[in-house]
Amino acid sequence: MKAAVIVFPGINRERDMARTLKLVSGREPAMVWHADTALPAGTDIVVLPGGFSYGDYLRCGAIAARAPVMGAVRAFAAKGGLVLGVCNGFQILCEAGLLPGVLMRNARLKFVCRDVYLRVERSDTPFTRGYDAGQVICVPTAHGEGNYVADTDTIARLEGEGRVVFRYTAPDGALAPEWSFNGATNAIAGIVNARGNVLGMMPHPENHVETALGPTDGRGLFQGLEEYLDRAA
C-alpha cells in the first residue's frame, strides 16, 4: 500500500491515520500538504483524515474541498484510484462532489464522541473485503456534523445500487433509532461512489486497530485494503 494522507490546516487525525496505515502495511504513508498540486508517484490510495479543516468555517469541509491538492485527488479518483475519507474527510468528499449528499449538524445538536456499532452492508468492495456482509463492528466516532442528508432520489439511488456500505445499528445489527445517534438518513454511516473506488465514512476505523487500545474491529478495513492493493500491484 502506497498511501498518501492529505494534510489540511486544522485537521487532527492525520497521525492516527498514518500510524494505522504503517501498522497494517509496514510502509510509511506520504503526508501531502493541501497546497501541493500533485500526488507522489506510485500512490495507490489517497486518504483524507478527520479533524476540523479550516476550523469548519463556512461549512464542514467546504474550504478544504477547494484546496489546490483536490485537483490531483479528483483526477486520481477519476482514473479509478482508491480514495478513503474519514469524518472530516467524508465531509470534504461530499463538498468536493466526489460523493453525493452532505453531512449536516447532528439531529440533537450534540458532538458525539464514543464507540458506535456499524453493520457492514457488503463485503465486495476494496474497503470492506476484510469483513463479512452483515458483520457488526465497533469503532469510535467523534463528530458534531455527521447527519447524512441527500434528496430522496439520491437516497433511492444509493440504496438501489447498494452503495450504503456502513450503517449505524445496535450491537446485534438491528436498526434502531437510539443507535443512529446523529439522525442520518437511513442510519447511513458510510457510502461509496458509483464506481466503488471512493468511500466516505463518519466513524474512525483507524482508532480501533491495536489491542492495547481496546477492540480491533477497524483493522479489517485497512487489512482488506492492503491485501487488495498488494494483489493489484
Binding site: 463556512l58 461549512r59 467546504a62 474550504i63 477547494r66 463538498e95 453525493p100 449528499g101 452532505v102 449536516m104 449538524r105 447532528n106 439531529a107 440533537r108 445538536l109 447527519n147 442528508v149 441527500a150 434528496d151 439522525g183
Partner: protein, 80 residues
C-alpha cells in the same frame, strides 16, 4: 460597490439549529413565532465592474463556494 449574498436552507431540509433558536425564543417569552430557520449573510465589497459583470461574479462565488446547492438556496443583492 457593496453586495450581499444570503444563503438559506432549502425548504424540507431539517434545521436543528433553527429549531433550537425557536425553542430559546419561546422560553424567553417571545411569542407569536411560528418557526425559525437559520441562514448566512455575506457582505461583499466589489472592486470594480458593471452591474451585469458583478452579478455574474457573485453567482459564480455562490455556486462555487458560498452555498452548497444540495441543501441551500442563495440570493444576491447588489446595493448602489
Amino acid at each position: 460597490m457593496k453586495a450581499q449574498v444570503t444563503v438559506t436552507l432549502k425548504s424540507g431540509i431539517l434545521d436543528p439549529q433553527g429549531k433550537a433558536i425557536e425553542g430559546a425564543l419561546k422560553s424567553l417569552g417571545v411569542d407569536g413565532i411560528a418557526s425559525v430557520r437559520q441562514g448566512k449573510v455575506f457582505d461583499i465589497e466589489i472592486a470594480d465592474g458593471d452591474r451585469a459583470g458583478i452579478e455574474a461574479k457573485l453567482r459564480e462565488a455562490a455556486e462555487k463556494l458560498l452555498a452548497n446547492t444540495v441543501i441551500e438556496n442563495y440570493r444576491i443583492q447588489i446595493n448602489g
